[in-house]
């Protein structure tokens, strides 16, 4: 089939101050092609796409659409030329219906001509296989539906080129399948689809060609059919890496119960159940994974163990003590440490404007005698953590907010691990980390497990959860829908649990 080129980006460079986000990048995407942009965090994927969608303007280089040079000065220009971008965070109004959301910002007359609109929506839905009820309110939609609506929105605005930023990050395996079906339909209709991702399996499954970015430059474009995953990793990282999570199973008799949650219920500020009668045991020498789509109660689960929120019902036992009612301070003293990586990385756990030493000291200073704060000991500790975790920083007196995301995370996790905890709670520990750093973190968690620590690992990537964890607890809407042994289930089965289908017989991992 003769394919015309939809997008050509030639020699694109962009820098932010001294940081060169993109350097001489080349990219071409044809009509009817699914093109994956692959790269580690900070490789410049998002910057590149933001230039294509008009948010940034390149410092140099040229963009051509269907052979014509274009220069966008705002996202509006890009939309006008048929480029639609779908972000990770949806821009939808919760209280409005699908139709109303599509209409927002559109030049319409005084009256809403819902009828002709409904017609057009139906036509688009049919053509691309989008399964959307035009009158459904956004607040009643699942994450997958919301994403479909976002796609419909840009298609309605006439997009023929779709850019999707990490579209699968928030979806269950079933929803991912559905999304891929939609993407294939769009491809058949002659649209060009660009997907930004760092999940290699998905690249192999959906894309026709892959462009790999590394440190801002384009390393090369390959046909997906001609490569395998190790090749791609080598292109991304620049060297061969050994990506094996070795799971050591420890004898069952040493795995005594460390922490027990007994029918814990937590209500959110609106009185809805954020956690509903959650019961599980965390044992020594194990990593217990927590799977679930975003906001299924993971945060509440972690916070109620750490004493940051008080359960409305239920008990939490740690070495025979009920933790409910204890202050966060007491719980830290008991040896329960938590590292929660929020989306902005700095919101919890670290103080951005302070240096590494002052951040390392954050949980220890209260144990020091006297009124003054003693930094000497922590200076040593900071040096050790920086050295052992290979944190890239000019010095230990650099303020944390100047570090890159991965290094910030290492500081946070390094501090928690350094305190030799008995229970380690990590949430999204590898969020935004590059491959090498992620595996470094997995190794660290495994080390902790072998020391007898009970690790609660709240994760996003099911593949990783299955490779790393001894057992996986699945949350859906604050309920435990199953606790499974990863060796005994498939990804799809976990996916079903994530959507709320309870497993009849729990596979008990021992």
């Amino acid at each position: 089939m003769e394919k015309t080129t939809a997008i050509e980006m030639m020699g694109i460079s962009k820098s932010f101050g001294p940081i060169q986000a993109n350097k001489d990048v080349y990219l071409d995407v044809s009509q009817g092609e699914v093109h994956a942009i692959l790269g580690e965090n900070g490789a410049g994927k998002s910057t590149l796409m933001n230039m294509l969608s008009g948010i940034y303007t390149p410092d140099s280089g040229m963009i051509r659409l269907y052979g014509e040079p274009v220069r966008f000065s705002s996202p509006k220009d890009a939309i006008r030329r048929g480029i639609g971008m779908i972000y990770q965070h949806f821009n939808l109004v919760d209280v409005m219906t699908a139709t109303e959301n599509i209409l927002i910002g559109q030049p319409v007359g005084f009256m809403l001509r819902t009828k002709s609109l409904s017609h057009k929506i139906r036509e688009l839905s049919d053509r691309y296989g989008l399964d959307i009820d035009p009158d459904k309110c956004v607040c009643d939609m699942s994450v997958g539906e919301k994403q479909t609506l976002e796609i419909l929105k840009v298609l309605y605005r006439g997009a023929r080129i779709l850019i999707m930023d990490e579209p699968t990050a928030v979806l269950t395996p079933q929803e991912i399948k559905k999304l891929f079906r939609i993407i294939r339909n769009m491809k058949q209709q002659g649209c060009a689809v660009v997907i930004i991702t760092h999940k290699l399996n998905e690249v192999m499954e959906i894309s026709d060609r892959v462009t790999v970015l590394r440190k801002g430059s384009s390393i090369g474009t390959v046909n997906t059919m001609d490569v395998d995953i190790p090749n791609l990793i080598e292109m991304m990282v620049g060297k061969k890496v050994d990506l094996q999570i070795t799971k050591k199973s420890i004898d069952a008799d040493r795995r005594q119960v460390l922490l027990e949650m007994d029918e814990v219920t937590v209500l959110d500020s609106e009185g809805k159940k954020a956690l509903s009668e959650v019961s599980f045991e965390l044992r020594k020498y194990e990593i217990l994974g927590v799977a679930g789509v975003a906001n299924s109660g993971q945060k509440e689960l972690c916070e109620s163990i750490a004493g940051l929120i008080r359960p409305d019902k239920g008990r939490i036992f740690f070495e025979g003590d009920n933790l409910v009612g204890k202050t966060p301070r007491d719980i830290i003293q008991l040896g329960i440490r938590m590292g929660f990586i929020p989306e902005d990385r700095l919101g919890m756990g670290l103080v951005g404007s302070m240096d590494i030493v002052s951040n390392i000291i954050l949980k220890d200073y209260q144990n020091q005698p006297g009124l003054l704060i003693q930094k000497e000991e922590c200076t040593e500790k900071a040096k050790k953590i920086v050295r052992e975790l290979d944190i890239q920083t000019p010095s230990i007196y650099t303020s944390v907010q100047q570090l890159s995301g991965g290094n910030i995370q290492k500081v946070l996790l390094g501090r928690e691990i350094d305190s030799s905890p008995k229970v380690l709670i990590t949430a999204y520990a590898v969020r935004g980390l590059d491959i090498g750093a992620s595996y470094k973190i997995y190794d660290m968690l495994n080390e902790q497990k072998e020391k007898g620590v009970g690790v609660l690992f709240v994760g996003e990537d099911l593949d990783v959860l299955m490779d790393l964890c001894d057992r996986i607890l699945v949350l859906c809407h604050g309920e435990v829908t199953g606790i499974v042994d990863p060796s005994g289930v498939t990804k799809e089965e976990i996916g079903l649990l994530m959507t709320g289908r309870r497993k009849e017989v729990e596979v008990n991992a021992q």
Partner: protein
């Protein structure tokens, strides 16, 4: 059309940062000069008089320092609260009540009390009163999450009106033949002079060091900084946030209360309802301009005291309203705060669009 675009800057080198700030001050003076020209005044003459009027003679230097002392101590107090992002704009009221408490002690403890005892008790009373006045908004903020800005602001007026009531009512000096004033302090309630200036200057210098050490070296100071940066992080670290807010405000209010005692004892030698004399508000500006840094507070407060003193001088000597000095203060504030923007963002030109070949 030239389109301008604002982009976020990376962290600037220290040297350049200072250069921008100095430039801002210079520009503010130039700009103030232009305003003066506009009003038909000679800016060179006025700036010269501002300097001469504030440091020209020994007497004037003393007057300038007398104004710098309360400004400096109040700024230090405010800086502790501000570091926690607790916007205490209630210094004026805390000063007023501190003065009232000190006065209560001075008038009731008896003339035979030894001077050191009397002054210490007065200072303690003032610190407690100022601290308590700050404690009210603090506890409401800590427990109920009320807005401290409005709360502290309103408490100023309650404090001032309360002292006015005392001055016109219960505390009126019977010897003043119906004139609404409170009795003068006896000799043992008046702060001594050291090197010709009341001892407040030593207190101010000591506090500069104490506050610096407190913020940068103590656990409580560290906690206050963490809470100011991120309440969530403080929570995760197991800090007792209510406790920290209340401690910081007791300290902040306490220092402002002490200002009240110093002013009542050394300057007015009595209590008047206008004892705070706007120092509590000016101190917000000085604390902010000094970026809450103790040593910088000392410097900025001396400069502002010069402006206040110089402003009074030009009014008398040149018949120019002292508002001119306020204009200079205002433009300095405007330019220095404005320079923050340039420290964080830079402005560049958007590359011109190429004509699309459509």
């Amino acid at each position: 059309m030239i389109a301008l675009r604002v982009t976020k800057r990376d962290v600037m080198p220290r040297k350049k940062e200072y250069a921008v700030r100095v430039l801002a001050v210079v520009l503010s003076i130039v700009f103030a000069g232009v305003i003066m020209l506009f009003f038909g005044l000679d800016p060179f003459e006025i700036f010269k008089s501002l300097v001469v009027g504030s440091v020209g003679t020994q007497m004037r230097i003393k007057q300038t320092l007398i104004k710098a002392i309360p400004l400096c101590i109040a700024s230090l107090g405010i800086s502790v609260a501000f570091r926690m992002k607790f916007w205490n704009i209630g210094a004026e009221g805390q000063i007023t009540l501190g003065a009232a408490a000190a006065t209560f002690v001075a008038l009731n403890l008896g003339q035979t009390t030894p001077k050191p005892v009397m002054l210490l008790v007065m200072a303690m009373a003032a610190i407690v009163a100022g601290g308590l006045w700050a404690f009210i908004p603090a506890i409401f903020k800590a427990k109920l999450g009320t807005n401290e800005t409005i709360f502290t602001l309103m408490l100023n007026y309650i404090a001032i009106k309360f002292v006015m009531y005392l001055q016109y009512g219960p505390w009126i000096d019977p010897a003043a033949q119906g004139f609404p004033k409170i009795a003068m302090f006896s000799e043992n309630a008046i702060l001594p002079n050291v090197f010709g200036l009341h001892i407040g200057w030593i207190i101010a210098l000591v506090l500069v060091i104490v506050v610096h050490v407190f913020i940068s070296k103590t656990k409580k100071g560290y906690e206050i900084s963490v809470v100011g940066q991120s309440v969530e992080t403080a929570r995760y670290a197991g800090m007792n946030i209510s406790n920290i807010i209340i401690t910081a405000m007791l300290l902040s209010g306490g220092m402002c209360g002490l200002v009240g005692m110093i002013q009542a004892s050394a300057i007015e030698k009595s209590l008047v309802y206008s004892i705070a004399n706007n120092y509590g508000f000016t101190a917000i500006i000085t604390a902010w301009l000094a970026r809450l840094n103790s040593a910088a507070i000392l410097l900025v407060c001396i400069v502002f005291a010069m402006l206040i003193q110089g402003g009074a001088y030009i009014q008398i000597a040149m018949n120019v309203p002292s508002s001119v000095s306020s204009i200079v203060q205002g433009t300095i504030l405007f330019f220095v705060l404005g320079s923050e923007f340039f420290l964080q963002y830079k402005i560049g030109r958007v590359p011109q669009l190429q004509k699309e070949v459509a």
